[in-house]
Amino acid sequence: MHLVVCAKQIPDPETPPAAFRIDSAKNEVIPAQGIAPVLSPYDAQAAEAALRIKEQSGDGKVTVISLGKESAQAAIKQVLAMGADEGVLLSADEFQGGDSYTTAHALAAAVKKLGDVDAVFCGRQAADWDMGQVGVGIAEELGWPSAIIAKDVKADGGSFVVQRVLADGFETVKMAGPAVITVSNELGDPRYPKLQQIMQAARKTVTTWTPGDLGLQPGEIGAAGARLKLEKLFQPPAGGDVQIMEGDTPADQAKALARALRDAKII
């Protein structure tokens, strides 16, 4: 069984607020100094789901694909250390500046190139933009069924049994492979790699594919192919306006509050 994990490297979501800066002129996040980018946490969970199935089936193979800059090698190595077998990096200037659509398009092309894939695992969303589009986008491109926001995935012959998290409960679906599954944090903590695996991962070479390798035209990918335009990126000014409700008793204060809220047309 051949499983693919899509992994994205993102700015550290735990960057302290004081260190998070935006260049509003360029509509870009300024990389925080001394804070290295990380593997999106949901993608680590996607890797965990794939690895559990690999272990369950006994003879699976897991390939991790990332679209990003050269630095995304680190994200790939991390999944390799967890137990993935091979890594592919989609990296070229033409890929830069894309949106969910172009990313899904490029990743789907990579899955097609791999050929014999039984399932693609993505995080439910990347923890930077939180769009949650790429997984379903890949399914659309490939014409495969998809199940999103999974908390448990099992392989059953050629099918996958997926437990999904809904707003008010869980749902179990079974779908025939090949399929796309996006994984949520309810799946549980991703494994801690053994040192032996970390060292093996460090020695593995990651294959790099360019648009040419995937047969993609420059207009289909990156900024050129993007259908989403970022209008404005800004940090809401921090701070607040505090008004203390006067009153001798809590009841008086409550009345004053109610009046103030009505004046402000909130109630």
């Binding site: 735990e14 302290p16 903590d189 053994k194």
Partner: protein
């Protein structure tokens, strides 16, 4: 020292010697195998015993040799000999429990001296150099009896403790052999007196009563026996019986040395010789970690032979467990049982491992129970605080901490079985260079409101190392600021690294991820060297221990001070002048990594003495007996399993002093107290407060509102 122990014995013997020389030259003496037929049987016993010892120790040695070579044993031979004398023969650690100290000294010295007495008898008989004559014979009779009595006193104390005292630790793992050994010893001594008394009754009493008096105890018994007016024949018959009983029991007892805890007779001094000679707070480095296949200790043969050897030295006294913070809190760790379980496991799987080893087979494939996971449970290994209390107390110098950490290394690096919260801390160190997952602070946050914080550029004398906890945990920022202000006030030439600080790796090493530790440590050593750091002042005893004791392993040699050391000196030299009263009763908590593991007990107490109006109230467990706050050994980042939490136990002790505040020197201790005290004192009114000693000194120097010369932020 050894002398301290021996002085009473030497003194008493000396008096005897002088007295013996004072009497006229005499022809006193006796026939050795008096009244005993077939004395050759003794030599058969002797040969059997020697055979047994050789066989028994040979078997032990075979098991030890399953272990790996022990690095560093050739270093510091003089230090090692001194340890063997002080800690082995001198039994320094035993005295930490005074009752046991006296008891053990009585038994030990009696066995040594009486063995010497017996050896002289044998020499006199066999080599036909008859030196047991004249004045020396009288003296010999005297000290033989003296140490017999001393031995009986010791045995009496031991019997009392084993059977009548409410003393618990001896019963945590009591076995048949414990009773055998004790009663055997009692019988040897009593039968010894019987032999001597009967001999005296049958011979000397009638002929040379003045000689007999030298054997004062036996003489007394003989006089008692005399009352019954036995015939000589009866006395002689009884003597023969008593003699053989004595001999048989004595040899039997010596035979027990091979099979029981009595082997500590040899193993304890040997283990004192093998004891590490470097800092107790240092963990071993895994050399060439990249080239190894197994990183920690997962099976017995992964231990060093010294680690296997010391398992055999354990006497199940329970001292280690009785001081273990995890055990006190009802958590699943007892260092004594850990050592005993490993010992039993070694005996269990050792022979098969030896066989496979000799046959050149694969020892790892020998199917046995998993040592790490089954024999020693994961939660047992995680509960250890690496506080060193067990090592400190162990009378036979067993080092539990390296053994526990070696197995943790296996859990983390080989098996990747890590509690989730500890895993988060490790991953955070790897990814973000600090263990504080989710902190909203940056390494500059503490500088807000302080003017002109100097960056270290190599021109200053000291690097002030703030550390991850000092910079990234809200509660600790005031401590960091206080230290900063005090350093400045004291006129120190120093700078900080700010954003360039990264974790020095200590939590990773304690949690068992030696690989991550080495990466972080090597990086930081490089940074320090590049910046020309020579002297470091740290906020945190863990950073202190790491820089001071562990970085030399990576060729990083710096002069390292904990802030309490620096501040105590500045106070002593008058460079800091506490003028404001802090009126408060305080109790002082020794952090393990500053106190027990680095021997800094006095500097913080000196600072307290300088605080106007502060009354210090010590806790019952303090200084080298201080109890861990619960955070050590990476437990800051773990969920505790067990009846209680260690910080609740310690907070209770602190609250029990009645002091208004508990003062420490470590950001982790402060956090543990802040967290533990409310559990003991749910009412906010009058609740004990926890401070770093620098915060109090800050109040004393600058006043409560920080109005002194240093200015800046007020202390909360």
């Amino acid at each position: 020292m050894v002398g301290g122990w021996w002085s009473p014995a030497v003194g008493l013997s000396g008096i005897g010697l002088v007295a013996a020389l004072e009497v006229e030259r005499t022809d006193a003496g006796r026939e050795i195998f008096f009244n005993v037929q077939q004395p050759w049987a003794v030599y058969v016993f002797m040969a059997t015993l020697v055979g047994l010892l050789v066989y028994g120790f040979g078997r032990h040695a075979g098991l030890w040799l399953l272990g790996k070579p022990t690095p560093g044993l050739r270093l510091h031979p003089r230090h090692r000999v001194r340890n063997a004398m002080r800690l082995g023969l001198g039994q320094e650690k035993l005295r930490r429990d005074p009752y046991a100290g006296v008891m053990h000294w009585c038994i030990f010295s009696s066995i040594v001296v009486l063995t010497f007495v017996t050896a002289q008898v044998a020499l006199d008989a066999d080599l036909s150099i008859h030196f047991l004559q004249g004045n020396y014979y009288l003296f010999f009779s005297f000290y033989g009896d003296l140490f017999g009595v001393i031995g009986l006193i010791g045995v009496g104390m031991a019997l009392n403790r084993r059977y009548f005292d409410s003393y618990r630790r001896l019963r945590w793992d009591e076995r048949l052999e414990d009773h055998l050994v004790l009663w055997g010893l009692a019988l040897i001594l009593l039968s010894g007196f019987a032999v001597e008394a009967l001999r005296i009754g049958a011979t000397e009493l009638a002929e040379h009563e003045s000689w007999a008096r030298w054997s004062f105890a036996s003489y007394g018994i003989a006089k008692l026996v005399e009352v019954f007016e036995f015939r000589d024949g009866q006395l002689l018959g009884a003597h023969t019986w008593a003699w053989w009983t004595h001999v048989v029991i004595a040899f039997g007892w010596l035979g027990l040395v091979v099979f029981t805890k009595l082997d500590h007779l040899f193993f304890a001094p040997a283990n004192a010789y093998l004891l590490r000679t470097d800092a107790p707070g240092r963990l071993t480095t895994i050399e060439n970690i990249e080239e190894r296949e197994i990183f920690g200790v997962g099976q017995v043969q992964d231990f060093t032979w010294k680690q296997l050897f010391e398992l055999d030295a354990c006497v199940r006294c329970g001292r280690c467990t009785s001081v273990c913070p995890a055990n006190l809190a009802g958590q699943p760790l007892s260092p004594m049982h850990l050592i005993q379980d490993l010992k039993a496991h070694l005996a269990n799987v050792g022979p098969e491992l030896q066989r496979v080893g000799h046959a050149g087979g694969d020892q790892r494939a020998v199917a046995t129970v998993a040592m790490v996971g089954e024999v020693i449970k994961d939660e047992t290994l995680w509960a250890c605080r690496t506080c060193g209390a067990c090592v400190q107390e162990c009378p036979v110098m067993i080092e539990h901490v390296p053994t526990i950490v070696d197995m943790r290394r296996y859990l983390v690096m080989d098996e990747a079985r890590v509690p989730a919260t500890a895993q988060a801390a490790l991953e955070n160190m790897e990814v973000r260079g600090h263990p504080w997952r989710g902190t909203a602070l940056t390494r500059d946050s503490w500088m807000e409101g302080l003017e002109d914080v100097p960056m270290f550029d190599g021109s200053q004398e000291y690097l002030y190392w703030v550390g991850c906890s000092g910079a990234l945990v809200e509660r600790n920022l005031p401590i960091t600021r206080s230290v900063f202000k005090l350093l400045r006030e004291a006129g120190a030439s120093f700078g900080v690294l700010g954003q360039e600080e990264t974790c020095n790796g200590d939590p990773a090493r304690r949690l068992g991820n030696e690989y991550l530790y080495q990466i972080l440590a090597q990086q930081l050593v490089e940074t320090f060297k590049a910046k020309n750091v020579q002297r470091v002042i740290t906020n945190c005893p863990h950073c202190f221990n790491t820089f001071k004791n562990e970085y030399p392993q990576f060729d990083g040699r710096f002069e390292v001070f904990h802030h309490t050391e620096f501040l105590a000196r500045a106070l002593g030299e008058g460079r800091l002048r506490p003028q404001h009263r802090v009126d408060s009763s305080v109790t002082y908590h020794d952090s393990c990594y500053l106190g027990r593991l680095n021997d800094v007990y006095d500097a913080p107490r000196q600072i307290l003495e300088f605080l106007p109006g502060a009354a210090v109230q010590e806790m019952a467990r303090s200084r080298s007996r201080g109890l861990c706050c619960g955070a050590g050994g990476g437990n800051m980042w773990q969920e505790e399993v067990g009846e209680r939490r260690v910080n609740h136990v310690r907070a209770e002790e602190a609250v029990g002093t009645g002091a208004e505040s508990v003062v420490s020197n470590c950001p982790f201790c402060i956090q543990m107290f802040e967290d533990g005290i409310p559990a003991i004192q749910p009412e906010e009114e009058g609740r004990m407060r926890a401070f770093d000693i620098a915060e109090l000194l800050d109040q004393a120097v600058f006043g409560r509102n920080g109005s002194g010369a240093g200015g800046g932020e007020s202390v909360r």
